[in-house]
Symmetry: C2
Subunit: 189 residues, 2 copies
């Protein structure tokens, strides 16, 4: 049984990897047989590994999180400088959103945003904001509830531009100036 | 012919007004006969005045713009203090989004956002930002292209909260600190 299970796992991984590529290129309407073709498997193998399109998009997105975003966030957490760590994590997260915007839009169309991945990212950001606040390098009147809203604001600008332009970095810088302790006028509750 | 045309205009206005109320209460799925009922007209009159649901939502939204937002923006433009003018306009616009979030969601579902209204609001904000920049009360490195992105960021937080909580004011204050000239680190292009 062992070799068969290893085969199944390898196929799962190949298909998720191909789906990540194909959705990034073609968006939510990407044909499944193109994904199977690129993974080097038959369409029946694809259907055996993934019950539906939503499961496939979720796996592709989760792969992107694991391979691209999570290592960058871990690096940011390991940074000795709490401000630099927070800023590089923001850059990594919005950069991930920019690079994977078609896959994310496909996931959103299918209602397939992986909540586990999102919760993990949010927990890391909460830790990064706390650490920066305790070090006095961002304003002291921020609370944990601000973290998802600040991320939502920064992600929202992606929809207003060609995400590959990198123009979103400008709004990280603008918000960073709003987060600075020396800029702070007290926030309303 | 005159009295008939006045009648038609009165019905149009009544129906748009009722639609604004009913969509705010019940969202995109509000039944059309409830709207006709509340307007005091028959359903056939409603269909004579509005070719489809999208036209009705668009008229309701346009009425909201005209009656609520536009006067507040005009007041903000008339304010002698460019910083206070800009801030009260931001508060008015996001507050309008908060008060009318169901009508806006209905419009968005139906693809009925009124582009004319949006363009008008954006033009007013562009003027307010320019005036504040020229007066030196906001950072000098902002450009016109930043205006829709800053508005998009502030609107995006509404989706993360109960809009009636007023919690969105906190993010106007945060962004305002990022706009302050004394906070400014140079923005990337």
């Amino acid at each position: 049984v062992r070799p068969l299970r290893a085969d199944a796992a390898r196929n799962y991984d190949r298909i998720a990897r191909a789906a990540r590529e194909v959705y990034a290129e073609l968006g939510a309407d990407a044909p499944l047989d193109e994904i199977a073709h690129r993974a080097g498997v038959g369409i029946s193998t694809l259907f055996r590994r993934f019950e539906d399109k939503r499961a496939l998009v979720r796996a592709a997105l989760h792969l992107g999180f694991l391979e691209q975003l999570v290592p960058q966030l871990e690096e940011a957490l390991a940074d000795d400088d709490p401000h630099r760590g927070l800023m590089s994590a923001l850059e990594a997260a919005i950069g991930f959103g920019a690079a994977e915007h078609r896959l994310l839009a496909a996931a959103s169309d299918l209602g397939a945003r992986t909540m586990e991945s999102t919760a993990e990212v949010l927990a890391t950001f909460t830790a990064l904001f706390r650490r920066a606040r305790e070090a006095g390098v961002i304003r002291g009147d921020l609370v944990d509830e601000d973290v998802p809203r600040i991320l939502a604001m920064l992600f929202s600008v992606l929809a207003t531009m060609d995400p590959s332009s990198g123009g979103w970095r400008r709004y990280i810088a603008l918000v960073a100036d709003g987060l600075a302790p020396e800029a702070a006028h007290p926030l309303p509750a």
